[in-house]
Symmetry: C2
């Protein structure tokens, strides 16, 4: 493993022009780690964006197979990061080693999946309408369309997935796959981790002879603003708080040239526990739900922050079961002091609310997060009270008891946009509550039955997105292969001779990809 240098990554070189030194801390002890990271200067941010812009024409013009080889090389380098690396990540995030080992595999697997997408070629969206020279009153020219990368992408990683949603995470993977060079803003919560991962990416870039500047990384607080406002940046990927994400959206929209921002921000992920399920298996549900609430100290975008049931003796008993389980949960160390502080503040808001009752959990104090359970009046949901719409990031959830089926719909209608919604039920429940699927479709990006929203599979069908404020643009996903679409735009060629067309659109179909030809999908040569 390389030594930590702490310098910014610009155009394939390292740069440390600034005076501001930053330190990473041991998430459990608060002790500073023995490395300095040099905050990027305005000139360095400019240079990083320009390095990405300089790499763009060459990088986007590489064949998809060459880009796939780059992603696979990154995957190999990530897999080769060993125990020493895992120990660094654990120290910076207080996450357990097994989790980091698993996340490393998820992150390299994600790179390989995007490599597969590149080899498959459907991301090109190739479409061909052949000329109709005899058409009357006007002939039709030959028209062909494919998609290219938007340009340099700025990526802001998340604290809670120091690998899978960070330096080499889904946003970086999908942007690189799309042919967009990346400028990554290292997360201040795991800068040593970020450096090791950036080194891995740079090694892969060198091994596969990628253009210098295909990946850049800057350290520092507040430097992200310069990045988002930089004219060379053409899109932004972000995972984090609603406040932070919205600020980036506002900056991007106010630019001379507005650019798209894909911010994954705030979700409380309602879980609806239906009556028959409670009849048949309340105890199991209580156990699994509690496990999902406290898993990873509740530090998941898909943590179930709201549990809704219909008033009944069974739901009352279920609530008590969960309260007992939550009360038994051990406190856990959070990602960093800021996260713990936010958790404490979020709990205070719930505790202070007259419509919300505290059901279980030891008083929040000290260096660890205490799991908590609350119960809120259904009217708060129906009337859109903000206290229930805000994500409290950590091991806590709020129960809501509705009077009946009609009030359940009213309560769900009161919700803002979410990443996920979950229904726990038996077949009879789903028959009786059939109105819920179409209702939830309008609110969320993913609906789960009889599962828990934590655990986001990386695959073609995943949607880790949803209406605002879950994300800033419900048309995107930040997990799964559809994520590449966020960074692509279509280009059309009219009346081009075959020799001048890009490979995906040539008559012979040399890439063997599926194309829509005169309205019919196929792989035939023309």
């Amino acid at each position: 493993m390389n030594q930590i240098l702490g310098h910014n990554y610009i155009g394939g070189a390292r740069s440390a022009a600034g005076q501001t030194r930053l330190q990473s801390v041991d998430a459990s002890s608060g002790e500073a780690l023995p490395h300095d990271f040099i905050q990027a200067t305005a000139e360095e941010v400019d240079a990083a964006a320009k390095a990405a812009a300089a790499a763009y024409p060459a990088y986007r013009s590489l064949s998809a197979v060459r880009r796939a080889e780059f992603l696979e090389a990154i995957a190999d380098e990530l897999d080769a990061l060993g125990d020493e690396f895992v120990a660094v990540v654990c120290r910076e995030t207080a996450l357990p080693a097994a989790r980091i080992q698993g996340e490393r595999g998820r992150t390299s697997g994600q790179m390989r999946l995007f490599a597969k997408v590149l080899r498959r070629g459907d991301f090109y969206g190739a479409r061909i309408d052949r000329a109709l020279p005899e058409r009357t009153p006007l002939p039709r020219p030959d028209l062909r369309q494919y998609r290219i990368g938007l340009g340099p992408v700025a990526v802001f990683g998340a604290s809670n997935f120091p690998l899978a949603f960070s330096t080499a995470g889904g946003d970086t993977a999908s942007a690189l796959a799309a042919g967009c060079p990346v400028v990554f803003k290292a997360h201040s919560g795991h800068m040593a981790t970020a450096e090791h991962v950036a080194d891995a990416i740079i090694r892969a870039a060198e091994k596969t002879a990628m253009p210098a500047g295909v990946f850049n990384m800057i350290y520092g607080g507040g430097v992200g603003e310069w990045l988002v406002k930089h004219p060379a940046i053409q899109a932004v990927g972000f995972t984090g708080s609603l406040k932070g994400g919205r600020a980036l959206c506002d900056m991007a929209a106010a630019r001379a040239q507005p650019i798209p921002v894909f911010a994954e921000m705030s979700s409380i992920n309602p879980v609806i526990v239906l009556p028959q399920a409670l009849e048949t298996r309340a105890e199991n549900i209580a156990r699994d739900l509690t496990a999902s609430v406290v898993q990873g100290c509740g530090q998941f975008c898909t943590n179930p922050g709201l549990v809704i049931g219909i008033r009944s003796p069974q739901f009352t008993a279920f609530t008590q079961q969960v309260a007992a389980l939550i009360g038994d949960q051990a406190p856990q160390t959070m990602l960093n002091a800021g996260t713990l502080q936010s958790y404490g503040k979020g709990l205070q808001k719930l505790l202070a609310h007259p419509g919300i009752e505290h059901l279980a959990g030891r008083e929040q104090q000290g260096n660890q997060a205490q799991p908590q359970l609350f119960k809120a009046d259904a009217s708060l949901l129906i009337n859109g009270d903000e206290a229930l719409q805000e994500e409290v990031f950590g091991p806590t959830t709020v129960f809501v008891e509705v009077a009946d089926q009609a009030q359940l719909s009213a309560a769900l209608n009161g919700l803002h946009g979410q990443l996920t919604a979950t229904m726990i039920g038996e077949p009879a429940d789903f028959e009786r509550f059939s109105e819920l699927t179409p209702l939830l479709e309008q609110k969320v990006g993913r609906i789960l039955l009889n599962g828990y929203p934590t655990g986001v599979e990386v695959c073609d069908s995943m949607v880790h997105g949803g209406p605002y404020p879950a994300t800033s643009d419900a048309r995107g996903t930040s997990v799964g292969t559809l994520a590449i679409d966020r960074f692509l735009r279509p280009v059309c060629f009219q009346n081009y001779p075959d020799s001048l067309l890009p490979e995906p659109l040539k008559n012979a179909n040399p890439l063997g990809i599926q194309r829509l030809v005169d309205g019919v999908p196929g792989r035939e040569a023309l």
Copy 2:
């Protein structure tokens, strides 16, 4: 043809609560037409948006075939609008009858093409990843994805295509196809036309039993702002000026819930005339280019506003040929007084610029637009002078002579985003100037060889879009079937039993559509 009522269209009924009366004028004479249109009140705009929102759940849940039948019924109603209707459109826009007849066919053809897309089913983007219960360390749940309409869409039509880019134009067609009810803001330049078209849509909606509120229309100036700010509106389609489009983008971005805006705004559509082509066929190029510049009084988004060539005796002679042709062109009546006034102002800016020379065209005065030709110094392009970047909407174009091949690239690099770029050349030209295609790809949505950008085919492969300021979002197109993508978002179902899945995702594939199953496209039942 129905009588003109002049009332707003809200939820399937007509409403005229306001006091402000508007009139449409004869574009040629300036005379007021004998109809009053009642400007929508704030309450009526609210009611229109709410009617669209009320229609959304039912409308989006209709099968794609039912929506296709609706679009086809609209097409039939449009085709049935006869000579009397054409006369009204011609009166309001000063466009010739043949053009309006053609545009009517284009508009109904567009509706039928989207119906075809709905029957084809690829817009669903269906993806299935089947469960892997035996996978270690964790099983994979069954995950399935398809796309649904975003919600109610506000559409603002253009003046220059009173049918194809207006009430029943591409934005309306693609939004309705996506399952999004529409609130259309009638263009003040052709309100009688808008009313007849809205009546046609409403007749089609009634004949095919669509939910009331699937299509709504409001009259008035300034009422669009209420619409874009309305919480029920989930996306905006716009065709018009950069100033107008940007204002809508800014409003949409500042909402509590920001929404996407697809604004097609400003493009000068560079045409590059290459040396060999000038050697072999300068006269034909001069004639065809001039025809493209003055066609429809230059009132096209794709009007060629900039012509670039390399300094040579041939280019000088070509410039003189075009100057002679432009000088011979008859003046034409513009769409309305405002358009003529803008044209005059645009010309004044060019005339006043010290780096721009006037080559041909009679002095702009009176009620018609005089075709004009200008020549600008190449340095203006290279240095990004704003005068050359702004679209002058009307029958005028600017020639730029560059010193050599290198300066040609520098000049093109100085351009803002465009809808189109065109190269006129011989095979030897394209070989010699092979760097131009990748360069232009980064600047535009469509590149044409040996054609003219006016004339935008409606088909699967068309891109009528491009980087800012050509549009507000280069990832969309407002012409062609890909336009539907702007109004769709993905939803994922996890662990759903077959009986509860939407049709496109059921095991049996009852719609017979192509789906991506475990990474492989196919139509098989599972």
